[in-house]
Structure formats: C-alpha cells, structure tokens
C-alpha cells in the first residue's frame, strides 16, 4: 500500500511529540520553526515513505536535514577551530580549587546535584550549535559517533573534535552558570 497525502496528518501527529523534543534539544528556541520546516518537507515528499514502520527513521532524517541546513546558515567559520585554552579546561579541578562547600566530602557530586533539568537546558542553550548538536546526539540520545557523523554530513574526526571541545565548553558553562545564579553559596545549597 502506497502512502499519500491523505494519510499524512495521522502519521505526522504520531511523530510530532518526539520530533519536537529532539528539535528542542538540538536547536533550543528554534525548535518550533525546525519542526514546521520538517513537516512541510515531509508532506511534499510523502510518496517517498514506503511503510508506516519506516516513519520514525524517515522523519528523523528530514528533521536532521532541516537542523543541518539551519546550522550551516547560522554557523560562521564552521570548520575553524578557535585557538583558545578550552581543550585544557577541567571542571573537576575548578571545583576542587574553588571548593565552594568546604564542609562537604562530595563536593563534585554536590555541584552536579545543584542543577535541575531547566538549569541544564539553559546551560546547553548557551553553547554554539556546532558543539551542542553532537553533544546532545551522543550523550542524551545515545547515538554512536559514526551515525552522528553521517547525520551531520561531517567526517568522524571532525565530529570527535566538536565533541571534545563541546564537553569542555559544557563544563565551563556549568561553572559560569552556577556562579552567575548564586548556586555556589552555602545558603542556596541548603534550600
């Protein structure tokens, strides 16, 4: 049975919740626009979808293409790696050196526990898309680096480099966010 435009709404409605969640993780406040683009492209190409079972993978490919297009449009100097000291940043050392809660024996774990989910998303939203996207796909969606390279149309070594720098940017932004939001004060911790 070939699927056609009359089947589209029913098929798409089943995919929209997870498409939005993935787009939100990958593109932050652009998620609605990306999903809308994805729906329009999917509708125009619905004849390419052979079976209902293939719908999740098919929609994911279209969504990733939309993310990639936007990412290319938005990114400046996509292939350039800035020369800075981020590769050597260590949140572990930063916490140990600053020792925000001297009476705690588990200061590193306490630091992570001071973030709720909303805080984590705000931190992720601060990252450049070229770092946030591989980080989300690998560490939150559990997708392997070979597959991520394919999805992003980039060589694996480039993805590994983005991942490495992205992890370090994420570590640094966690610390900066905690400082900016008064999360390191003893009082804030006990609340």
């Amino acid at each position: 049975m070939r699927l056609d435009e009359s089947d589209f709404s029913e098929i798409a409605r089943q995919q929209i919740p997870w498409l939005y969640v993935l787009a939100r993780k990958l593109t932050a406040d652009k998620a609605e626009d990306v999903v809308q683009e994805c729906l329009v492209k999917a509708y125009r190409n619905i004849e390419d979808l052979r079976t209902l079972e293939a719908a999740p993978g098919w929609f994911r490919t279209i969504l990733m293409n939309c993310v990639r297009d936007r990412y290319r449009k938005d990114a400046s100097g996509l292939d350039e790696e800035p020369i800075d000291d981020i590769a050597d940043y260590s949140l572990y050392r930063k916490i140990a050196d600053e020792d925000p809660w001297p009476y705690s024996d588990t200061v590193h774990v306490d630091f992570l526990h001071s973030f709720d989910e909303e805080d984590v998303w705000r931190v992720l939203d601060r990252l450049d898309p070229k770092y946030r996207i591989p980080l989300v796909l690998v560490h939150m969606e559990g997708i392997g680096t070979d597959e991520v390279a394919r999805m992003l149309g980039a060589p694996k070594n480039t993805v590994l480099s983005w991942l490495h720098r992205g992890r370090k940017h994420f570590e640094r932004e966690l610390w900066e966010y905690a400082v900016e939001n008064g999360m390191l004060k003893e009082k804030a911790r006990s609340q």
Partner: protein, 80 residues
C-alpha cells in the same frame, strides 16, 4: 608517561570508549599512578551519566496546537 594535562584532554574520549591504541594504554598507565586524574575520570563518568539523565522535555500544549494548525493547512493545500 603522559602529563596530567594530556590525560585530562583524553578522559572523556576514554569514558566514551572513543580512545584508541596506543593512546588508550598510555592513559591507563597514567591512571595507574595518578590519583588526581582517577578523580577526574570518575567525575567525567558522573558528568556523562548526568547528561544522559536530562531527557524529559515535553511538547507544550500550545506548541502541539500550533502543529495541528500546520497539519490542517498542509492538508488544505495552504503550504503547497
């Protein structure tokens, strides 16, 4: 033996099993002797697990309604 700075640069890759020979063995040799870098590695593992737990974003009702309208427009031929 590699330095602590070199080891720290490779820890995430090690935790995610992306690090290949001979870098992997060099890092393991370093970890055998360096207590601080072992702490770094445990923290990298903790951080990876912390990220994996952040997965419960929901589709807000207002956004779901917006997508319903997009689907209606598409079916009506509005976006073609």
């Amino acid at each position: 033996m590699i330095s602590c700075d070199q080891a720290v640069r490779q820890l995430w890759g090690y935790v995610e099993q992306e690090l290949e020979s001979p870098d992997r063995e060099r890092l393991e040799d370093h970890l055998d002797l360096c207590r601080r870098c072992c702490g770094e590695m445990e923290f990298a593992e903790e951080l990876a697990a912390f990220m994996a737990r952040q997965s419960t974003v929901d589709l807000p009702n207002v956004v779901a309604s917006k997508f319903d309208r997009v689907l209606e427009d598409l079916q009506a031929g509005g976006e073609r």
